[in-house]
């Protein structure tokens, strides 16, 4: 589904991302972990053609993303608040995204009604603009908007941050369902190792722009990841 080849991104001589090869099959729930500055958001931005690759490219469903726009109809994403339109209410925002993705109001309503639990009564019918919602509620609206229009690829950057515990658990279920039951390819990044190992079938660890681990999730994965990042902590302490 998504094939990355010789991809690199360099800013003023500093390489922030360098992936020789990475293939994500259809219907996989894929987790990206790494410390700050590891290149997670850079990779997602490249996937969405928001920045230009220095070398190489990403092919999504046989479409080269920085050459054609044909990946847009089947890809959706929520990276940060700049994906929200502050002066719309959540409903208006959903309808707007729906219209862009060829869904009418009824389609959007039937989709959002499935997420009543997830919204916890704080999103729909509140007559509030998105800019006036709390960070957590903004995130909920953004994540659900990314599910509108039956996308085949969904990209979520740090979806668990700012959410309350109940919502985090519900979100995990939603992401699992998407990959297992609907065959959607879900790409998630997170700082929370427990959440990623719960949700993702496969976890890739980035460090300074390079892939340093590529793991099939199994009961031992969490331990392995914790060991890996704990080592990093020891090393940096020694450096100090």
């Amino acid at each position: 589904m998504i094939h990355t080849k010789d991809l690199s991104k360099t800013y003023n001589g500093t390489t922030v991302l360098n992936i020789e090869e990475l293939t994500i099959p259809k219907g996989q729930s894929f987790g990206l972990v790494g410390n700050n500055g590891a290149g997670k958001t850079t990779y997602f931005s490249l996937l969405l053609d928001l920045i230009k690759p220095t070398t190489g490219n990403i092919t999504s469903n046989d479409v080269v993303v920085d050459q054609s726009e044909d990946w847009k109809p089947f890809t959706s994403s929520f990276i940060d608040e700049s994906f929200l339109i502050g002066y719309l209410t959540p409903e208006e925002y959903f309808y707007f995204i729906g219209e862009l993705r060829g869904q009418n109001k009824a389609d959007v309503d039937s989709l959002t009604s499935k997420f009543e639990d997830f919204f916890n009564g704080e999103i729909i019918g509140k007559k509030k603009y998105l800019r006036d919602l709390s960070k957590g509620n903004q995130k909920k609206a953004g994540i659900v908007a990314a599910l509108i229009g039956n996308p085949e690829v969904i990209i979520l950057d740090e979806p668990f941050a700012n959410l309350d515990p109940t919502t985090q658990i519900r979100l995990k279920q939603i992401i699992k369902d998407l990959a297992e039951k609907q065959g959607v390819t879900v790409l998630v990044s997170s700082h929370d190792l427990m959440h990623v190992t719960d949700v993702c079938e496969r976890i890739v660890v980035l460090e300074k722009g390079n892939v340093v681990k590529d793991l099939e999730t199994n009961p031992a994965t969490l331990k392995e990841l914790e060991a890996h990042f704990a080592n990093g902590a020891v090393v940096s302490q020694e450096e100090e």
Binding site: Y87, T89, E99, Y129
Partner: protein, 470 residues
Amino acid sequence: MAINILMVFFALYFIVMFLGLGFGLLLILKKTFPDQDPFVIANGYVFFWIIGDLMMRFFLQKLPVMSVKPLLTLPIKRSTVVNYVLGKSVASFFNLLPLFAIIPFSIMLIMDGYATSMIVTWLFAMIILVLISNFLNFIIEAFSSEKELSFLPIITVVGVLFGLNYFGILPMTSLIGDALLGIANNPILILIPLAILAACYAYNFKILKSKLFLDSSLKSKVEEVNAADLSWTERFGDVAPFMKLDLKLIWRNKRTKSMAFLLLIGVLYGLFFYPQPMYREMTFMSAFIGIFSTGFFLINFGQFIPAWDSGYYKLLMSQNIKYEQYLRSKFILMVISVVLLFVLGIPYVYFGYKILIAHFAAAIYNIGVNTHVILWGGSFNRKKIELDKKAAFNYQGTGAVQWLIGIPLMLVPMAMFGLVNWLVGFAAAVALLIVLGLVGIVFHKKLMKAITHKYLDSKYKMINAFSQDN
């Protein structure tokens, strides 16, 4: 940088104006009222100055409360914070500016032979008066913020004072004038305005202290949603979602809302010129006014495309949209505004039919040429706009593009019109603008394609620029 330079320029401009007033006032008064005491006359006008000052302050000056938010969690007494905020407001430009007029005027009076002690007392009384306006304004604002129609209190206060004076019920002009003269002659009376100032300060202190909590006044206000029926946009087909978005953008954000009122200024713009016969004779002026007045919204809205959407530009760029639709929505809005402004400007025919014809030609030129020029210019925009920032004196998003784009937009059509009008005649000049406009309309599709291409070319640069904080 550009913003600061502009602000400094404005400040200097006002300072020079006030200095000119301060030094020139005595001469002007002597010339206009040769047989009266200029000092007495000047004091008679102080009332109007106070009224104007209050209005200006109300719309432009705000108490810098938000800046103390970080202080609240520090171990500083609440009353110290309040005193700091109120004290800080004294250093405002609005309080410094009058000094540039009052001090030179006092010097001129002394040089003219008025008693130094009297003028110095007067000078202090005036400074106290400025400070009273300063604190009175914050009291009015405190009341306004609780009202639905926020400018009702200021209108009421100013209206009542003005009315009392106008209908002679309470002659405010002579009252304030006499009071100032009285103080000037009996320095001890300066204690009265000083007491008023102290009262105003104390009242402000009281209001502010009760409000200075993170959960009440310092919390940014949550607005009620105002939803209008926009289903009429559906007739524009695939552009409709973007038009709805643009209309909400304009109506729901402070910065853009003030622009909707520019439509009104656009309509009335001609009234600055046409009532004067001098301008009516210069036919090329009507082309300029026509371009400006029918294109007022076009210029003000268009110059910040696509920066209006900078807050969610990444979303638009990763969504399933056609860039051309996005731009066409803005185009349609601008065309509608031009047509509307032209129709509303039809009454200018009163000043001569030629004006109407020139405006018509200008409107066609705006639709055919200027819309495309400004969209094309937008592809050079690299400055983000934060929509929720205040509107007045806000130059965020202004860059060199905004200045340069004015040349093809206004000067070129004006020069062409003027030249042909001078060489051939009025009819030919009008025809030229109309033909150019029609050419633009005929090639609309082609032009849009080229413009869209230009935007796509600068896609990465724009995304990068819009995600930077200024």
